[in-house]
């Protein structure tokens, strides 16, 4: 029985690629199919968003602009909830909305027919989803975490930002131990962001190809539910990517000292009318 199973599994199984294939190669410069499709998708996304940018009116319109506006509003709400003020949300929205739509549309364009084994150049498929390549998602994660650190340093100054990791008395050796651990955590965050997106997309591809293979002639029927599941997973992963990076930003720019500043701030506002009253009294007595 086991021999039969292993024989079945080894004979012409579904086409599964975990690593991207090389399409063009000249010397050390290799262009993989993921890079090719990533450039194409990036071009399409840039053109779409630029067109939408000129369609923005106060009166709402139908069409793709509604989709883009809804996504922007959602991400802005997430940042507003995490950072606690609308000013900061407006300040940090552009990058996070960009990365949200880049991840989302790359995930969805990866499910289009023609991506994968259908169009091949030699042995390797010509197109492969950009997010199904660990290099691509690692690049996104590195850029995101570097920007998070930059935002945090801009927000609170470099010394205060370092003290955010090494908080506590500097004479205490455990400060350095836990500080080093915190710094190490930042690097694991890069890896986990990249791996989560990559594995979700690439395993979705594997599942779709396995169920397409099992269905034989009925492949469209058996693979369709998993394509729909992958559409949902693509949206969910784009949301989770942004949500996690916003959370990391919120953790990085939050300091305990800010509590005092926040509690002091509302007290100064009601004092303003008192001064006016004093001025009026002075005017009245004069």
């Amino acid at each position: 029985m086991l021999e039969l199973i292993s024989h079945l599994a080894e004979s012409s199984g579904p086409v599964i690629h975990i690593a991207p294939g090389e399409v063009l190669k000249s010397g050390n410069l290799v262009i993989t199919n993921s890079m090719l499709y990533g450039w194409a998708c990036a071009f399409v996304i840039c053109v779409t968003l630029l067109v939408v940018r000129f369609m923005v009116r106060i009166k709402p319109r139908r069409g793709i602009i509604q989709f883009i506006e809804a996504g922007t509003e959602m991400i802005m709400g997430v940042i507003n909830n995490a950072l606690g003020s609308r000013e900061k949300a407006v300040k940090y929205t552009p990058y996070f909305v960009t990365i949200f739509f880049f991840v989302l549309l790359n995930n969805w364009f990866g499910l289009l027919p023609g991506v994968g084994g259908a169009v091949t150049r030699g042995e390797t498929p010509l197109f492969r989803p950009f997010t199904a390549d660990l290099n691509g998602t690692l690049a996104m994660a590195v850029v995101t975490m570097v920007l998070v650190q930059t935002f945090a340093i801009k927000e609170s100054g470099i010394l205060k930002h370092i003290r955010h990791y090494f908080n506590g008395s500097l004479k205490n050796p455990t400060t350095y131990l836990f500080g080093g651990l915190e710094v190490f955590t930042e690097f694991t965050r890069v890896i986990s962001l990249a791996l989560r997106l990559f594995l979700n997309v690439v395993i979705g591809e594997v599942i779709i190809s396995v169920f397409g293979f099992l269905g034989k002639a009925a492949a469209p029927v058996t693979a369709l539910p998993f394509v729909m599941l992958e559409m949902f997973v693509g949206l969910l992963q784009a949301y989770i990517f942004v949500m996690l990076s916003v959370t990391y930003l919120a953790v990085a720019i939050h300091h305990d000292d800010e509590h005092d500043a926040e509690t002091e701030a509302p007290e100064t506002v009601p004092e303003a009318p008192k001064r006016k009253r004093v001025l009026k009294q002075k005017v009245g007595t004069a």
Binding site: S6, S192, R196, L236, Y239, M243
Partner: protein, 75 residues
């Protein structure tokens, strides 16, 4: 004299065991998150706005299950 003898490709047996045993933990973890979320919404319907946080927690746990799946192609 052996009580039982396994012949054939042991690698596939190992992969199957790895998938089956490795998915138990993440399955329980995602179930606990979903249980906590549904309980919270049942007690306090206002808590439904924390769906995003619940999904993020599920995403964190899901990574472990995906790592198990990805190990299939490495070993």
């Amino acid at each position: 004299m052996y009580f039982a003898e396994i012949s054939g490709n042991i690698e596939i047996l190992g992969k199957g065991l790895m998938m089956g045993l490795g998915m138990i933990g993440p399955g329980i973890g995602i179930g606990l998150v979903g249980n906590a979320f549904i309980n919270a919404v049942g007690r306090n319907p206002e808590a439904a706005k924390f769906l995003g946080q619940a999904l993020v927690l599920i995403g964190i746990i899901e990574l472990l299950a995906l790592l198990v799946f990805a190990s299939l192609f490495i070993i």
